[in-house]
């Protein structure tokens, strides 16, 4: 078992900076996802950890051991890649025991380990078949099992689930978490799929253009994104972001300019300090902001209540959807405000028709403010835990009741 520490690690290819110098401390036994779109530097980062790629700057440590200059075979890491590199001319059993053979483990130990792993991966019935006869799903399980069986202290996975169908990906996410819990390995997991990162990881490192954007737990990244990029990358559909202007001496923000549907709302409590600091500093663009809210937040805390009965910090905003999508029992309403596309999701018990205005009900804790130029989140007071559905409240949604907070 081992922690992984990156200190100022960067990578250049000629004039191109693939990874800007970054610090990342992965704790022993932690499951960390490196998340970003293709070309963001996530695979390069992982390849440097693996030793498949040299670093241009910085040091890499496993525990106290500096491995920066160690070759891949001496680092003792396990890999699984998207293209699973299975020996298709060998049986499933031979594939599984390969790593143990290389390590020179005795036959009885190999046999026990192989049978245990096969059972866990539901490959027992396939053990003596040729690997070439396996389905894509089984091949990927074999690839993961083959790497996990040698119980490496550090386990690196690069998009291991991206070839699988959706239902099976969900199963494998659950299996991967169990493997990790059972073996307690330090896992580094590269993916472009925010659902995988959210569902699997203890912490997520979000990357964009070779730069680390934020490193935190899924909950904190979702609730307190560091910038517009992270805010929009995490969550589906993406967070709505629209240009906003501080008005009335910084008490309110106005969105939509002079367009129809434009509105203004109170600056959320947790941003008031930052907003007054900002205005005190002054400057040409001090009143320009970006306002963000998640599509799933519009069905707000007092949805269904009569207008006027909303408590403090609740804003109600009437807009007519231009188009409606169906996703299971959810509806995604699409809106346009002064050239910005917005989305809101509702349970289908809320009637939603194209062209008919509907209320977006937003609690102030669901509103986000960002600087319009550098797109960073404004500093805010800590929000605490999000509000929960009330005990025993039935509501129209299937969901949890009776959670005591």
């Amino acid at each position: 078992m081992s922690s992984i520490t990156l200190e100022g690690v960067g990578k250049r290819f000629g004039n191109f900076t693939a990874v800007q110098r970054m610090d990342l401390a992965v704790e022993n036994g932690e499951f960390v996802a490196i998340l970003g779109p293709s070309g963001c530097g996530k695979s390069t980062t992982m390849n440097m950890v693996a030793g498949l790629e040299s670093v241009s700057d910085g040091r890499i440590r496993f525990g106290d051991r500096d491995v920066t200059d160690e070759p891949v075979e001496r680092r003792g890491v396990g890999f699984v890649f998207q293209n699973y590199a299975i020996f298709t001319h060998m049986s499933v059993r031979r594939n599984l025991e390969f790593g143990l053979l290389v390590q020179g483990r005795p036959a009885s130990e190999r046999r026990r380990a192989v049978e245990r792993m096969a059972e866990f991966m539901e490959l027992t019935a396939r053990l003596d078949q040729n690997a070439a006869t396996l389905s894509v799903n089984e091949l990927q399980k074999l690839a993961i099992g083959r790497s996990a069986i040698v119980e490496p202290a550090i386990f690196l996975l690069d998009e291991p689930l991206s070839n699988l169908d959706a239902a099976f990906r969900e199963r494998m996410r659950s299996d991967l978490r169990q493997i990790q819990q059972r073996l307690g390995q330090t896992m580094l997991y590269v993916t472009h799929d925010q659902i995988e990162a959210m569902g699997l990881a203890d912490r997520i490192a979000v990357m964009s253009n070779g730069e680390l954007q934020q490193f935190d737990t899924p909950g904190n990244i979702y609730r307190e994104p560091a910038n517009v990029y992270v805010a929009r990358f995490i969550g589906a559909p993406s967070m709505n972001i629209l240009p906003a202007e501080l008005v009335e001496g910084g008490r309110r923000v106005r969105v939509g300019g002079n367009a129809s549907g434009a509105t203004s709302l109170e600056v959320p409590t947790r941003y008031r300090g930052a907003v007054s600091d900002r205005l005190a500093r002054g400057g040409l663009r001090s009143t320009s902001l970006l306002l963000g809210f998640r599509p799933e937040a519009v069905d707000g805390p007092s949805s269904g209540a009569e207008p006027g009965s909303d408590g403090p910090g609740v804003m109600r905003w009437s807009l007519a959807p231009t188009l409606i999508e169906t996703v299971g029992r959810r509806r995604i309403g699409h809106f346009e405000l002064a050239g910005t596309q917005l989305r809101g999701t509702w349970h289908r018990s809320v009637p939603l028709c194209a062209g008919v205005p509907v209320d977006l009900v937003l609690g102030e804790r669901n509103l986000y403010l960002f600087d319009a130029d550098d797109e960073r989140a404004l500093p805010s007071e800590p929000m605490g835990e999000p509000s929960r559905q009330l005990v025993g409240e039935p509501g129209p949604r299937g969901g949890i009741t009776g959670v005591s907070s």
Partner: protein
């Protein structure tokens, strides 16, 4: 301009790729065609286009039999999975090509080009050649080339499958907008259930060459005609309890499930014996923690299970709890970031209206009349 398939079959050697397919596509509608790989989706498209001829059955456009007509006479536009752009032409010339060939005036071409380029987000790249474009950009240019020309119907075979997830979410909406604004008829093949459902007016579900259900997305989600259809749509996947049906109850590895009168009635039908299943969607499962007041009395929960939380996957807008219930693992969808502790004891409840009973050959739904599955095949 309705498009109709009547009893269309296509055989390749011993394989019946399409089996007596009946399907009516309404003019101006977004018709998705959905099924797993090998279900016959692409064969259906090739027959519609006229690239292949059915072994049996007829294809009608506006009541006129076009079964033996050549592709050009049918006037369909198509976006293929593997896009065939001309490498020596700019994106603009590629998109305009179908109109130029048909002799449209340059001014018309420019107007139509602007109308499709903007929603597809390819305005800035119109002067580049395909080699200078990313895969996603090339895909959008190919879509633009198909949509610029009016046609009886626009056929699309996995048009956005190659794009990344974020872009796919945006693109399906833009395609829907274009379809609606231009008044086009879309026949849209996909293996992605969310794409098939989200913007379609009607979904046709294929199972091994047969159209097994044609309906609005909500109906497919709530009233799937078979367990096959139920398991094909929805994420996370639907919960299924398998067992033996007898005397209006289901007995299986999960123990015997006690049922409400409504459910017992449908399970008491003559067809309800032998192997059966009860299914319910994760978004219909209510998780009750010990000590909390149950909603069962008010809602008439049909199913109630005591279980232990195996794990909770937090996905942002919602979380998925997996709960072990006597040998079966059930999923429940929870709003927001919920923190059910792993290993904690909970009760799961499902309302009667959310439980779908299936039984018999092909696991058909028991409480749905055959007439509900429009376009379903009655033969064999």
């Amino acid at each position: 301009m309705s498009i109709e398939l009547q009893g269309v079959s296509r055989r390749y050697g011993d394989t019946l790729a399409l089996d007596a397919v009946d399907l009516v596509i309404e003019p101006g509608s977004f018709q998705s065609v959905f099924g797993p790989p090998g279900a016959g989706k692409s064969v259906l498209m090739r027959l519609l286009l006229g690239l292949e001829t059915p072994d049996q059955g007829r294809i009608l456009i506006d009541g006129v039999d076009v079964t033996d007509k050549r592709p050009r006479e049918r006037d369909f536009a198509m976006v293929f999975q593997n896009l065939a752009l001309f490498p020596h032409m700019s994106a603009r010339e590629n998109i305009a090509f179908p109109l130029r060939r048909q002799g449209f005036a340059e001014r018309d071409i420019a107007t139509r080009l602007a109308a499709v380029a903007e929603p597809l987000g390819i305005g800035p790249i119109l002067d580049k050649r395909p080699a200078a474009l990313s895969g996603g950009e090339r895909q959008r240019v190919a879509i633009g080339r198909s949509l610029i020309r009016p046609a009886r119907a626009h056929l699309m075979d996995e048009p956005i499958a190659a794009l990344d997830a974020r872009l796919r979410e945006d693109m399906r909406v833009e395609l829907k907008r274009l379809q609606r604004e231009l008044g086009y008829t879309f026949i849209y093949v996909t293996h992605d259930h969310e794409e098939a459902m989200s913007v379609a007016d009607s979904m046709a579900i294929l199972e091994r060459g047969r159209v097994v259900q044609v309906a609005e997305p909500d109906t497919i989600y709530d009233r799937p005609v078979s367990l096959y259809v139920a398991e094909l749509v929805g994420a996370p996947p639907i919960n299924v309890l398998h067992g033996e049906l007898a005397d209006g109850a289901l007995a299986g590895a999960h123990g015997s499930v006690v049922l409400t009168d409504d459910l017992r009635e449908s399970l008491s039908r003559p067809s309800a014996s032998g192997r059966g299943a009860l299914a319910f969607r994760p978004d219909a499962v209510r998780v009750v923690q010990p000590g909390a007041q149950s909603c069962a009395a008010a809602q008439g929960a049909a199913l109630r299970f005591a279980g232990r939380v195996a794990d909770v996957e937090t996905l942002g807008a919602f979380s998925v709890a997996r709960v072990d219930v006597a040998g079966t693992r059930l999923r429940a969808l929870l709003p927001g970031f919920d923190t059910l502790a792993t290993g904690s004891a909970v009760t799961l409840e499902v309302a009667a209206a959310d439980v779908m009973p299936f039984a018999g050959e092909g696991m058909k739904r028991l409480d749905i009349d055959a007439s509900e599955c429009v376009g379903a095949v009655s033969s064999s």
